[in-house]
Symmetry: C2
Subunit: 454 residues, 2 copies
């Protein structure tokens, strides 16, 4: 009881420090997708090192061909177990017109922390960091290492290189804090992630735009042809992917998994409200959960080319580029899906060029055993309620990289809520999740120390 009160006091006393650090981090536009922001990602790394050192931790920058990886933490001794906490400090672009305030100006509205990256993933990173300091200050017999990546949002292309440098030694377990609960007040721990294949499909039919009166009918229309290609790839209304062989390796969900999903607190109405959807492809709760966690997808994210100003400019463009992605589930293999996509597109429209923009493997995690139990109990300690195991519809490229390199258990202790707006305009994080998260991480570190070396 005394211990719990001590932790509560620590959390309360560190609130303004947490908010100040988060504010500084959010105001660095560390957008990894746009090369223009490479300098901001460098600034982000410098700031992260500063924060680690300010808290008395070791800190190090691992260089790669791209953005660096920041690592650091507290060393208790070689005889004690080591946990690596993974977060990322790069963020999504934020050019959506729906932003109601400048995305890179931090706003603290009485414990609601607004700005791009607040929930994905700067807020959770700093939450785990402050919990780490609590554990270190109390002499917890655990080596706590942080790995903060700056290329997660572009699929972690240089993370394998960073791991291969051996500057981040193999831990006994990994905890990833970059996932989203199903509902507020109902902690969730995903035991699986979807993979991803992203690509641009481009088509050039001429050198310059052409007058649709003068040439229309004879001229090819690259936008219309790319639309036809979308229709060939996916049933836009039902969502079924029509690329031959696409579903061959999908592992069907088990009854046990679907029952776990059912206990997650998921409701279609809350999902619609959280994401502000007007309607969905289905109204069945089970079907929505299956679709977002356990089924693959084909999405169109943008069609570039042609006129996008006011009114209609009746020019036939010479070029178009379709931005698409496919989410994958176990056991679909990204390389194989890419081959299927390329073959299908070549058959449908041989003039279309396919450029891969990223590949991430789907991941299947653990739901039982000592690590799962410790994480589960820690989440209950932090939030007052035992978590359920779900799956995560998103993809974290670094997870498969760590799984392959280190071959140790990887757990997920995410802190974000659906309404926080992952990748969406008006992103925010909040003190309720941050403070509960600090308590949960502190409890988890304690339990890992008690487990000793495996």
């Amino acid at each position: 009881m005394a211990e719990e009160r001590e932790l509560d006091r620590y959390v309360r006393d560190n609130r303004s420090r947490y908010e100040a650090m988060l504010g500084e981090m959010v105001e660095v536009p560390s957008i990894s997708m746009d090369p223009v922001h490479a300098g901001d990602n460098r600034r982000m790394a410098t700031l992260a090192v500063e924060f680690l050192k300010d808290l008395g931790a070791e800190a190090d920058v691992v260089e790669t061909k791209g953005n660096p990886v920041v690592t650091g933490g507290w060393t208790a001794g070689r005889q004690y177990p080591t946990v690596t906490v993974y977060n990322h400090l790069d963020v999504q672009p934020a050019q959506e017109p729906e932003w109601r305030h400048p995305p890179f100006t931090f706003r603290n509205e009485d414990g609601v922390y607004r700005g791009r990256g607040a929930t994905d993933d700067k807020g959770p990173a700093l939450t785990a960091l402050l919990a780490g300091r609590y554990a270190a200050d109390r002499g917890t017999r655990l080596n706590i290492r942080f790995v903060w990546e700056l290329e997660e949002e572009i699929g972690s292309p240089n993370f394998p290189e960073a791991l291969a440098s051996n500057r981040m030694p193999t831990p006994d377990s990994v905890v990833v804090s970059d996932t989203i609960w199903v509902a507020k007040g109902r902690p969730a721990m995903p035991a699986g992630l979807r993979g991803l294949v992203a690509a641009t499909l481009s088509l050039r039919t001429g050198e310059v735009g052409a007058h649709s009166g003068v040439t229309g009918g004879a001229a090819r229309n690259p936008l219309a042809e790319l639309c036809a290609l979308v229709h060939a790839c996916v049933d836009a209304h039902g969502g079924r992917v029509k690329i031959p062989g696409f579903y061959d390796d999908v592992v069907p969900t088990t009854k046990a998994e679907m029952d776990g999903f059912a206990r997650s607190g998921f409701t279609v109405n809350r999902f619609k409200r959280a994401h502000q959807f007007r309607s969905l492809r289905t109204s069945s709760t089970r079907d929505v959960m299956r679709r977002i966690w356990a089924a693959p997808t084909f999405e169109v994210h943008g069609l570039v080319g042609g006129y996008t100003g006011p009114g209609v400019k009746t020019v036939i463009p010479a070029w178009g580029e379709l931005k698409i992605s496919m989410r994958l589930v176990p056991n679909q293999r990204p390389e194989h899906i890419c081959r299927l996509l390329k073959r299908f597109i070549k058959a449908q429209n041989p003039d279309v060029t396919v450029e891969l923009e990223g590949m991430l493997e789907p991941f299947r995690g653990i739901q039982c055993g000592p690590y799962a139990d410790a994480a589960s109990e820690a989440m209950r300690a932090g939030f007052g309620k035992a978590p359920v195991f779900t799956r995560e519809g998103g993809s974290i490229g670094a997870v498969s990289v760590m799984a392959r390199a280190w071959k140790v258990p990887i757990l997920f202790m995410g802190l974000s809520l659906p309404e926080h707006g992952y990748h969406a305009p008006n992103e925010y994080f909040d003190w309720g999740q941050a403070s509960g998260g600090m308590r949960a991480f502190a409890a988890y570190f304690e339990k890992l120390a008690n487990m000793g070396r495996p």
Copy 2:
């Protein structure tokens, strides 16, 4: 012979004046599609009035709810016939990345006149104006009226209002100079225009963009649904429109018309080169001519919504807007085609909103009789070669308006060449077409005067 030499000298002596006037006009970005440029269209009207007065003509500005119409000319007397020369001084937008020089900075490269609007339609307007002054100075017994519109590129929405004002009295005939030859050195006079229906089709499925990992599969994808709608409306590869009833009122081309087309000098290779196409929907000469002059179309001009920056941002947008148009041929009626489109879209996807952006009727002109003969002989006088009758694939909304209001013969004496880049980047006009055009218009005015009042 003496007369011809006099005209030649006039044309030569007025070259630098012509170039100076065209330069001033091109440098006014009179883009009618973008309301931001309303002031530039006003400036364009003021400049046009100035030019008319500088040449000793009457000049007047007819106000409308939108951009004004400039009118003016030379009056010979009520006992003489009246011709109205129609041109427009508004231009297409010019934001294409392919522009090799600033579109609203005039460049005169030794008789090649570069800039947006040079060929469509400021160059031809000034050509006819200088020919008018030549005729007036020589005491030609003809009333020559100019009508310069500033909303042609947006379908002439306020032109009926301007005509209804009776400030532009009914002439005995109209000549329109806003069309394109089939090939350089081979004058062409269209005897038909395609009509147009332009529309935006928009679909909103949510309020903000959604994370494709977190929601993908259950979330509707408005871009994919709009692509499916395109596929439902048109065979993108063959070009056939699939909206039921679309072709019902199309008048098939006669053998005589097709034979006329065949004499026009049209070749598929020149067409491809002029418009810089890599390939076309068909390689047959007859089929290309039929498609661009005598068949209706369905085009996609742009798809707004989603991510269009570098890479792929895996967000599912909440909204998308498709910009489409259909070119129509006699006897398709725009209102009827709109009804068919709306009914079809409602059946395909009831959540899609259709916003009409413009409607123009197709037009069937004259190919024989005294006016056609006079115009034909004038073109031969100007360019040394008799013109052929073709059709024009483009649409000029003002033509149907004048046909309905005035019920007098409307002839087409266009001066533009395919390579001039109508509506395309790097638009230009040239002295060869301008000087030939001045000679042709001067000859036409002379012939109209000789014909007397009908």
